[in-house]
């Protein structure tokens, strides 16, 4: 009886050592490498936007394509912090109330609006322009559970958060090359 129990335990342990440990190890490394790739692609995309001062539909779709080549699906959040130079009026509808000075205000444009500018539902895809001195920021987070997360979930028998790969990259727009 005790020998059978010992054999069963030995079998369970060896299955863990033979299969699950190498697989888990491999998949975790794969996540690490994916993160490097995502960081690389994000840095390239953001830096080219910062250097050019605009986003073309092609740039964005190439970025998405490069990300999806890693085998995961991602949530891409873009943020464009624009410095507006606004003249100061007491009543904006009445030209005579102009105060002869301007304020610099910030307005933030988020992913949805940028995408709708790039790919308008009707009509041609268009560029999205940024101004020199604006801030452009991109956050990429994976949406699906990576294989490594699934294996770990199975081992720990508990729900793990999907967020494994999270890259935030951004900076000031350096030029307006349009």
């Amino acid at each position: 009886m005790s020998e059978t129990l010992g054999k069963i335990i030995a079998l369970v342990v060896s299955i863990f050592l033979f299969f699950i440990f190498p697989v888990e190890n491999m998949l975790s490394r794969q996540d690490d490498i994916t993160m490097i790739a995502v960081l690389n692609e994000t840095a390239e995309f953001v830096d080219s936007v910062r250097n050019l001062g605009y986003i073309t539909p092609l740039m964005y779709s190439q970025f998405c394509q490069a990300l999806s080549a890693t085998g995961n699906s991602y949530e891409i959040t873009m943020e464009h912090i624009h410095n507006c130079v606004d003249p100061v009026y007491i009543d904006p509808a009445d030209i005579s109330t102009f105060q002869h000075y301007y304020n610099i205000n910030t307005s933030i444009t988020y992913t949805d609006e940028i995408i709708s500018r790039l790919f308008p539902g009707n009509g041609m895809p268009d560029r999205y322009y940024l101004s020199k001195g604006d801030i452009f920021r991109v956050k990429v987070v994976n949406k699906n559970k990576t294989p490594a997360a699934k294996v770990q979930q199975m081992l720990l028998m508990s729900e793990l958060p999907a967020k494994r790969i999270c890259i935030i990259y951004g900076g000031m727009v350096r030029d307006e090359n349009y």
Partner: protein, 319 residues
């Protein structure tokens, strides 16, 4: 052999591989961070250089100062690398910069290693600015000297005459078989000439640098980076500062950092803004290429200027 023994044996064999894989991925990760960090340092240094090189000279004339640019470039680079007070480290970092190009309106300077004999016959090797080279192209007996826009000097060797001015103003005085009459072709030749002349000199400078790098104990083989035509075209549109930075070790497996950066000074090309009355009776200011602009009589240089006239930013082009 019992299954447990096999399992233990398997672990003994597999564990070193797993460890090695982990070390390798960690190394890869560190390398990537270092690459991005160095890119940022180089960008910041080049940016500072291109800001510092513009000096207002006499009569508000703009003067390009190579020395100021270089000083700002190295100062920022040293400060970021944390070696501002360390002379030895500064010297060794300089050895990783094979060439710097200052792209001016009518020519370019290259800063690279040069060997020369001093007054008392001692051989000296140091980074030096080479004489300015114009963007010259020769075709059909005519010598064309280009600039960053359509201003051009043409020398006719047969008649020993110079023609100088904008393309449109001098093209009638030149023979009809010249490419100067075709605007598109002219632009192509102009850009190609600028790119090719800079590229050739950069290649020579970087290849030459190998000789000197050995003296500093750098085993890296410097080779000109492949810069796509697209990048070149973007880089030659304004006065700028182009720096190469190569060969810094970033990984355990002998990986090296290899990059270049360009900062433009925005002197030749400027952004223009137009003010126009909207359909609601209010005045709006627009970017140059905004589809709402119909009349382009009055030009403004900055958004601030536009706002001071009381115009509001356009909603479509969001200037």
């Amino acid at each position: 052999m019992k299954i447990t023994d096999t399992a233990i044996l398997f672990v003994i064999i597999a564990l070193p591989f797993a460890f090695m894989l982990r070390i390798k991925t960690d190394n890869l990760q560190n390398m990537e961070y270092k690459n991005i960090l160095l890119n940022k340092y180089l960008d910041a240094a080049v940016e500072d250089a291109s800001n510092a090189m513009i000096i207002k000279g006499m009569n508000n004339k703009i003067v390009i100062s190579r020395e100021k640019a270089l000083e700002a470039f190295f100062q920022t680079l040293y400060a970021n690398l944390g070696i501002a007070g360390d002379n030895a480290a500064r010297q060794s970092i300089r050895a990783y910069i094979p060439a710097i190009v200052l792209i001016d309106y009518d020519g370019y300077w290259i800063y690279s290693m040069e060997t020369y004999a001093s007054m008392n016959g001692v051989k000296i090797q140091e980074m030096l600015w080479k004489p300015k080279k114009p963007y010259v192209y020769e075709y059909n007996g005519l010598v064309y000297q280009f600039t960053l826009d359509d201003y051009i000097i043409v020398f006719d060797a047969a008649t020993s005459r110079f023609y100088e001015g904008k393309r449109k103003t001098i093209m009638d005085r030149l023979p009809t078989d010249s490419f100067i009459h075709d605007e598109e072709l002219f632009e192509q030749v102009r850009k190609r000439t600028i790119i090719e002349s800079i590229r050739n000199d950069v290649n020579i400078a970087i290849n030459e640098h190998n000789k000197f790098a050995k003296l500093y104990g750098i085993t890296y083989h410097f080779s000109p980076p492949s810069i796509s035509d697209d990048d070149w075209h973007r880089n030659i549109e304004d006065i700028g500062f182009l720096s190469f930075f190569q060969g810094i070790p970033v990984g355990l497996g002998g990986e090296r950092y290899n990059s270049f950066a360009l900062g433009a000074a925005r002197v030749v090309r400027r952004n223009l803004y137009y003010i126009q009355q909207g359909t609601d009776g209010l005045y709006y200011y627009h970017r140059e290429k905004c589809s709402h602009v119909t009349e382009r009589d009055e030009v403004y240089d900055s958004r601030q200027e536009c706002a001071l006239t009381g115009a509001l930013p356009c909603n479509a082009c969001n200037p």
